[in-house]
């Protein structure tokens, strides 16, 4: 495999960016990154270096793409034509929202954004790239930054912004290349129709507005999974790096929420304790939609070994799936390459079984993917590599999405069976946003204290 001659400047830039990272309460994982963390230089350095590195990386991508096209095996392309590859985590809505596209006022609007990804678009994902990469299905992530740290019950626009992103995704789905999917059946239907099966995931419990009701609403709007935390806290759980246990509200939701089958819980980003509790309490499938293994690369975002041990096809174990991320920071900064991702997949498969792995790139939600998997055109390269390593067709079909669909079917069956269970009425106990207007309460208190009733007539 030919190495990109222009790699070193990219790598240096990356290191520099790491050191120049802004300090936010939200960025706990960032702060515990493997490299030395010290603030060096003013942030404006990146505005000079980014465009320069950009040129380099664009050249590099072109160079490699042109050369490597021949190396992808016919077998891989055939397999991907017959079976859909599902990427379980793509942050396309984030990119669309973060960049303006039209008009003088420089405002981004979701309607025009949805039309524009039909052609080449910045980032790792757009329709031409997806076609070239022979993607079959895609989970688009609804994501809103964690703003409030531990004050997550202060008013914010999180839920409104999340609704806007669901709207964005639905507008994308109105384009002729995409088709909404929520089940394995939908996935196949879209694939046969030649469209990208589009699922919706929500990345972070803060978009639930501290409310189980709102989780139900997401389910009604077609959301199929919720990543319980992003990099911050919320009423339900704590993020990676913290040692906090689950909130009782979440436990109540897990055990009683009738919709737990409809909205799968994604354990990427959550703290170790949250992971363990979730798996033990809910008996639901442990799903990680964009993660890696900590024994493989020591990063708080990655899954610890004892949790990996819980997932396999044995009696008493969890029948979940771990989808491997492409982000260089989680796969291994020493040598972030396609090989490493393949090694990581094999590592997880060795621990849990080949029926428990999948692909969740986190494209468009990361700055750098690994070398060899720079963007959505590169999926066939990965499949090629797995075939070269002796994975059978059946195992690769599982890796490409069969494993997840198996879980999805099971989840849907459970949901059908527990349809008559009562939904949870639990309310987050720290909420103070009463629906009783303060004015009314004051008035009523006055009246009930008043012994002589003043009646107008």
């Amino acid at each position: 495999m030919v190495r990109n001659k222009l790699t070193p400047p990219n790598r240096m830039l990356m290191q520099l960016q790491l050191r120049v990272a802004a300090e936010l309460r939200c960025s706990m994982w960032w702060a515990t990154d493997h490299s030395d963390f010290s603030a060096l230089g003013p942030p404006c350095l990146s505005t000079i270096l980014v465009p320069a590195a950009n040129v380099g990386s664009l050249y590099g991508t072109f160079y490699k793409t042109a050369f490597q096209q021949k190396e992808v095996s016919e077998g891989a392309l055939d397999l991907m034509s017959a079976h859909p590859l599902i990427d379980t985590h793509v942050d396309l809505p984030l990119i669309l929202r973060a960049s303006a596209h039209t008009d003088i006022d420089n405002r981004s609007n979701p309607v025009e954004a949805a039309e524009q990804i039909a052609g080449p678009y910045p980032g790792h994902v757009d329709v031409p790239k997806l076609r070239q990469g022979k993607l079959g299905g895609i989970f688009m992530a609804v994501r809103v930054p964690c703003r409030s740290g531990t004050d997550y019950f202060l008013p914010s626009d999180d839920v409104r912004d999340a609704l806007e992103q669901v709207d964005q995704i639905q507008l994308i789905m109105e384009e002729k290349e995409f088709q909404y999917a929520r089940s394995s059946e939908d996935n196949l239907k879209a694939f046969k129709a030649g469209k990208f099966a589009t699922f919706i995931g929500v990345e972070g419990g803060h978009m639930l507005g501290n409310s189980l009701s709102i989780l139900c609403i997401w389910a009604q709007l077609g959301v199929r999974y919720d990543t319980l935390t992003h990099t911050g806290y919320n009423a339900f759980a704590s993020s990676a790096g913290s040692g906090d246990p689950l909130d009782p509200l979440y436990i109540d939701g897990l055990t009683k929420l009738r919709l737990i089958g409809t909205v799968m819980i994604d354990l990427s980003h959550v703290s170790d304790e949250t992971m363990r509790q979730s798996i033990q309490i809910s008996k639901a499938h442990a799903l990680f939609f964009h993660s890696a293994a900590r024994a493989w690369w020591d990063h708080p975002r990655n899954i610890p070994d004892d949790v990996l041990d819980m997932i396999r096809s044995e009696e008493g174990k969890n029948n979940g799936v771990i989808h491997c991320v492409f982000c260089d920071k989680f796969v291994g900064l020493e040598d972030p390459t396609l090989q490493k991702v393949a090694d990581l997949i094999e590592y997880i498969a060795k621990n849990c079984g080949r029926a428990h792995v999948g692909i969740g790139s986190d494209f468009d939600g990361i700055d750098y993917s690994v070398e060899g998997l720079e963007d959505a055109t590169k999926y066939p390269d990965l499949i090629s590599e797995m075939m070269a390593r002796g994975w059978t067709d059946e195992e690769i079909i599982g890796l490409m999405g069969g494993n997840l669909m198996r879980v999805l079917d099971e989840v849907d069956r459970v949901q059908q069976r527990s349809k008559d269970q009562e939904p949870s009425g639990a309310v987050y106990d720290q909420r103070t946003d009463d629906n009783l207007p303060g004015l009314a309460r004051g008035h009523l208190e006055e009246r009930s204290n008043n012994l002589t009733l003043d009646i107008e007539d």
């Binding site: 960025s27 984030l94 990119i95 980032g123 709007l221 700055d367 009425g425």
Partner: protein, 445 residues
Amino acid sequence: MKLHLCALISLLGSIAASQSQKPLETAPSPYVPLHPELEARSREILAKYPLIDTHIDLPATMRTINRRPMDAIPKLNESHPGHFDLPRAKAGGLGGAFFTANASCPGAYGRDVGPDFLDPTETVQHVLESIDLVKNTLAYYPTLMKGARTAQDVRGAFSEGRLAVLMGLEGTHGLANSLSTSRMYAELGVRYMTLTHVCHSSFASSNGGGAGTSGSTIPPAHPGNGLTPWGIELVHELNRLGVMVDLSHTSDNTARDAIKASKAPVVWTHSGARAINNHPRNVPDDILEMIGDGPDKNNGIIPSVLFSTFIDPNNATTARVVDHIEHIAKIVGKNHVGLGSDFNGISLAVEGMEDVSKWPNMIQELLSRGWTEPEIAGIMGGNLLRVMEEVEVVKNDLSNLPPSPEVYYKRTDLPAHEWGGPNMAYLAPDVQNIVVQQRRLRDEL
């Protein structure tokens, strides 16, 4: 007078009882027919045609007195405080109802959105939770209730003997300055949106003076005190979505602007006639003149309201409500009126219509005034269903239009430049480039 005292005491008693954690008790006033000789006929008519109340604030009541609002659901079929519960609805012959999935104006729970309406609140959470509450209520009573979206659904539910339940959003502050949320709410089943509640929004101006106030209007927030251009965009989007535009609570200019902008019939889900009782919540004659049959008129409807203060503080009776209705009907025609109560959103309903079990009294009053059966069927629900169908036709006519791309021009959070993570670590390099360039442009502007 005595009736008022009883109702007041029972209301206070139930609130006091709930606060002291005793089981909720209600003391509904017993049914007394307004025109006993017409009672049998009124019940006959109620059994034959669906009576659809265009405005009941049930979710708000359930959320107001229950820390865990869903705990109230089982009580709905026994007895629940307020003007509505299922036994009384059945006794009253109610055929269908719009429950409002509303959130209070933010000022009411101590939030200040600021002069541009931009500061964050929990409003969207409240709306979504209310919608979920309605859905769970429907799921709990599958034999007694049925969720409906179209006129056909309503008729279907009625023929099965189930209460047809629809939803409305009371106040565009609940949209949090976004057209995306209007699309999402429409998808979740909201069938009308009241352009304002008692507060202004970025879309429209309110008349302010609702229940509990002295009735004076609030100082304007927008030039012209009507719809903003952004609000006109909303009206067009609602037309495209097939969601009815509700003008109760809006300022007079908002109503005029909305009627001019709307391609579909509009509604007032709970208002009276200002000529009968001079209150800002009632509709003035010149606006009524814009509604009716005829090529230059809007074909909407004006359902009634049952709040004593709006009807007539000195004569708060069912008969007086019908005075309002007849005045309106004289201008717009009897095929452009309807029945709205605002139950659970008001303190005192008029004498004779104290709660949802009293609808026969309304029918008796209409009969006593010589309304014919078809006219009564119309005001009960036929006119509303016709309007719903016309709104559906407009939606189909507009189906080739793309969704509105408009964004509230005062928002500074779009494009979301700050969403790239620490030092833009979530963004691919070429996207970072764009963001950097745009930030530079924005700073220069």
